[in-house]
């Protein structure tokens, strides 16, 4: 039997996973008032939004992001576990044109403890495993990174610049900039080491413990340790790496943030993190963590190709009896094969088996 498009299967498996963990599908409209994005534009990291005026003269946007809409509608008094599958509209950085991107995402809003955090990260790892057995989930902690920069007294445009270099693991440039800014060598080397360390929790944790300079960093380390304990108990520990070069806007994200990679896709296919600060800005007294899977990337880099379009090509001529043709087609389908019934052989079609029916019966 021909399988469905691999992406459809992945989508089905992911949705089943989220449903099994008690997450409810949240269906949204495609539009949102533009004001929302204007106010939180740093959260989106894009300024290119498709806007239009609705019939009452109000400015609307095609959603560039779902999390913001979910956060806006969050009810702080309830714990919410939601998932969504929606299209969002963003400008592609490489081709400089708007693209429709299919996102499948999971959000938890409520109060976050070690269990909920573990669950949110575990679901991300499990999602990747359903896409490909060869996957990596990289984790960073914004509290740790921002703690270090606070201790070093770096802020504003200098911070932005250094975070940019950190994101590119550009150790050389980090050291050079720190020297220019007159930052102590010892601290500069600590910042540079953030871009150097990469690997499993066991190998990286002892190294980053040496960098700790304040309570904020220390509590981030203990949060990561707790998280790792949950993840290894659930059997995904070996796929998790620590990578402090993952950077997200510090004014929205605070705790763990993560990016997921699968083999044969050259960029991250999953991204998520803890964004209590966004809710705070929206005036909601609660915490949140979630992630999104970029389904369009999976399709773009899907290498599995069907060998045949169809198992059986059933060709009949005008002398064949319609009853005979339908009986024959039903037979193949009952065998679990896919059948295409046509009155002539098409020019482009790959089939495994050709069956022709005329009045004299099957040939």
């Amino acid at each position: 039997m021909q399988s469905f498009n691999r992406n459809d299967t992945v989508l089905y498996n992911l949705r089943s996973l989220y449903e099994q963990y008690g997450y409810k599908r949240f269906k949204m409209s495609k539009f949102e008032e533009y004001d929302l994005y204007l106010e939180y534009k740093n959260f989106l990291q894009t300024e290119n939004i498709i806007t239009f005026t609705d019939l009452n003269g109000k400015l609307y946007a095609m959603k560039p992001d779902i999390t913001l809409s979910i956060a806006k509608n969050a009810k702080p008094e309830e714990q919410q576990k939601l998932y969504y599958k929606e299209n969002v509209y963003r400008a592609s950085r490489t081709t400089k044109e708007y693209k429709e991107i299919t996102q499948l995402g999971v959000e938890y809003i409520g109060s976050i403890d070690a269990y909920t955090m573990g669950e949110a990260v575990y679901l991300a790892a499990k999602s990747l495993s359903l896409i490909s057995p060869e996957y990596v989930l990289d984790i960073s902690h914004m509290g740790f990174v921002s703690g270090l920069f606070e201790a070093a007294g770096i802020e504003g445009s200098r911070l932005e610049k250094l975070l940019g270099f950190l994101g590119q693991k550009d150790t050389h440039e980090i050291l050079y900039c720190c020297e220019q800014y007159g930052i102590e060598k010892e601290i500069a080397e600590k910042i540079a080491s953030l871009s150097e360390v990469y690997g499993s929790f066991e190998s990286v944790l002892p190294k980053i413990k040496k960098i700790v300079m304040n309570d904020k960093m220390a509590s981030a380390v203990s949060e990561l340790e707790q998280l790792y304990a949950v993840l290894s108990a659930l059997g995904v520990g070996e796929h998790i790496n620590l990578d402090f070069s993952i950077i997200n806007d510090m004014s929205y994200y605070n705790g763990v943030i993560y990016l997921g990679y699968v083999k044969d896709v050259p960029c991250s296919v999953l991204s998520g993190g803890r964004y209590d600060k966004l809710l705070e800005k929206l005036g909601k007294n609660c915490q949140a963590i979630g992630f999104a899977v970029y389904m369009d990337l999976l399709e773009l880099y899907d290498k599995s190709d069907r060998e045949y379009d169809v198992d059986v090509l059933l060709v009949y001529n005008e002398t064949a009896s319609p009853v005979e043709v339908s009986r024959k087609a039903a037979e193949y389908i009952a065998e679990g094969k896919s059948v295409k019934v046509l009155s002539s052989i098409p020019e482009i079609l790959k089939y495994k088996e050709l069956v022709e029916i005329s009045q004299k019966g099957e040939q």
């Binding site: 950085r93 490489t94 060869e134 990596v136 990289d138 270099f165 590119q168 693991k169 550009d170 050389h172 440039e173 990469y198 690997g199 790496n241 070069s245 990679y261 083999k263 896709v265 050259p266 960029c267 991250s268």
Partner: protein, 209 residues
């Protein structure tokens, strides 16, 4: 073990870089045979090289066709690809400069006309100063633009300054020093972590300081 795919810029810089890779045990003898092939493999040490246009190296790496590559910082600044920048190769050193006809005086009352290949770099440089400019994108022989009074200045790479001098132009401002960088695809760095970090370590030992 998977192959490690390396994109090198065609030309003198690429050849120098290849020599460094060869020195640290990533040689590929086939590459020395002068023919028209573009892709070379060495099964023994599992490396695959290919030559590409220098400005395209970053694209091959960003899209994962190459795991690593060597490219000028000018290209990285201009196209801002989403990659890791793993080392400064300390090769191909030059400067990104603003140059003009000798004796040029900038009149801040007027929009400055700028000819360049590096639109993004020029734009962000002048945006940082709050200067209003008009960009004229050219693809080569930028020096002609101010000579023919088409633009006031050019933003371009200056290595020795000979071309400028021979055309009666001079550097009026250095924007940023440029050199070749080792870059890596983000996802490859996860799946070939050990291979790539080993290569980087060995390479750092032969980079001239």
């Amino acid at each position: 073990m998977d192959y490690i795919n390396i994109a090198l810029p065609k030309g003198r810089l690429g050849e120098k870089v290849y020599e460094m890779f060869e020195k640290i045990g990533y040689g590929c003898p086939a590459i020395r045979e002068k023919d028209r092939r573009l892709i070379f493999e060495n099964e023994e040490n599992k490396v695959r090289y290919f030559w590409s246009k220098p400005s395209d190296v970053a694209i091959y790496v960003e899209r994962g066709a190459a795991d690593i590559g060597v490219v000028g910082k000018d290209i990285l600044l201009e196209y801002e690809p989403d990659i890791y920048e793993l080392a400064d190769m300390n090769l191909g050193k030059c400067r990104m400069c603003v140059a003009a006809k000798k004796g040029f005086r900038d009149n801040p009352e007027k929009t400055l006309k700028v000819a360049t290949k590096f639109v993004n770099i020029a734009r962000s440089h002048y945006a940082g100063k709050g200067r209003d400019i008009e960009i004229c994108k050219l693809n080569g022989s930028i020096e002609i633009a101010p000579i023919l009074n088409m633009t006031d200045v050019i933003v371009d790479i200056v290595e020795t300054g000979t071309t400028l001098k021979e055309n009666d132009l001079e550097v009026i401002e250095t924007i940023i020093p440029i050199s070749a960088r080792l870059i890596a695809n983000k996802a490859s760095t996860k799946f070939k972590a050990e291979q790539i970090s080993q290569l980087r370590r060995k390479l750092q030992e032969v980079i001239e300081k």
